[in-house]
Symmetry: C2
Subunit: 215 residues, 2 copies
DNA sequence: TAGATTGTTAATCGATTAACAATC
DNA sequence: TAGATTGTTAATCGATTAACAATC
């Protein structure tokens, strides 16, 4: 039994891992070999203590008196996040956002393979977006089952989002990335990540006004 | 001096406000007049205690023995977030994501007015996306200054993001919504909200694998 | 009035930071 | 070896939950 199965790792820690990975990638690109928690802390804006605490949830990746090896820490974090695997993906909704996410995911994210886009609008079905076929939403469940799709990305309006989530869950996806501005329900075995763009925009509005008040 | 200026309100509270507002909107749509913190808690998935604590950061919006009036609480929260005002916006980057955000923001978000999109690619300059003109990135600063733009949305690649942020800040925007996968620096007077899509996707990958391990 | 539910103080819980012994 | 820096325990801080008096 490794350490990660012993104690429940908090959400806050997990949310920081991709950020560590981004900075390590950058250091790698610059040819930096090793880094201490103190130096990384200055760079990334966390305390050295927090960085060491976070990493030690998963194992002792450092070396006393030296620090952390950039390459191997990058690889360790990638493995913890599951980014050493590949994921087969479908996108539901071929509107502007669906198309943007399709391009974004398939172009920039090695390991995330967009296999198909599903739509209800008959004018879009049959088209190819960036070499990815747009298929009839009716065929979603059978396609996901037959092709063992790992992940669904919901880019529909909010009224359809729960139906899409139900179909994806039923068909056996392991995770859902939801862009519809609504909170959806999924079985416990399905991982869910919400991107509530409107919530983000609305909190930005708050901070804009708060800043004005300061002086 | 009102209550909100007395104590610093935590980030966690602000991030929950748009969510409260979404659920109140839904109740309003259903014709519900009043709701107690207990009922709202069941709906939204927070404790009644947390809801009352959150709201009391801004004032006493409820009535003992009765609960909260849905309409007036919705309006109060909208005002707290600054959603009773209008915001003039520019988008930088007319790629897939920029176009999607342009449509999303101008269609669905009353009060957020997309005035222009800026691009370096000469093949896109002069086009209209959804009635919004695509302009030369060179003209960004003068346009923002002359038109008193409130907010900039960064939809460029990560290498340009800091330059865009610098120009926007210099030209006087009050807030930046950043979609580039990099952490940018802005003066304190500028509000910044990051949407790190890749970080979100990467943490989803973690949860997908964690769920698999459970059984 | 009696019942219900808020607003607010106090208690608990969890996450972050500090400290330091272990060790490379 | 001496200096540096980790891994880890202890202390602190902040956020959430519980409790209850105030009051509609």
């Amino acid at each position: 039994m490794n350490k990660s199965t012993k104690t429940k790792i908090s959400n806050a820690v997990i949310k920081r891992l991709p950020r560590y990975r981004r900075y390590l990638k950058e250091l790698q690109r610059k040819g930096v070999d090793k880094i201490s928690s103190g130096e990384l802390g200055v760079l990334i804006g966390y305390t050295a203590s927090q960085i060491r605490q976070d990493l030690n949830n998963f194992g002792g990746f450092g070396q006393q008196g030296y620090g952390y090896n950039v390459n191997s820490l990058y690889n360790e974090i990638s493995a913890i996040l599951g980014l050493d695997k590949a994921y087969k993906i479908v996108i539901i909704g071929a509107g502007n956002l669906g198309q943007a996410i399709a391009n974004y995911t398939s172009y920039f994210k090695a390991g995330f393979v967009v296999c198909g886009i599903f739509e209800v609008n008959p004018r879009l079905i049959g088209l190819k977006i960036n070499d990815i076929e747009v298929m009839d939403y009716e065929k979603l469940v059978s396609y996901v089952e037959e092709n063992q799709i790992d992940m669904g990305i919901i880019c529909t309006y909010k009224d359809s989002a729960q139906d899409v989530a139900d179909k994806l869950s039923f068909a056996g996806v392991k995770g859902i990335w939801n862009f519809a501005p609504v909170d959806i329900e999924v079985p416990e075995r399905v991982a869910l990540e919400n991107v509530h763009l409107s919530d983000s925009l609305h909190s930005l509005a708050y901070y804009i006004n708060k800043n004005q008040k300061k002086e």
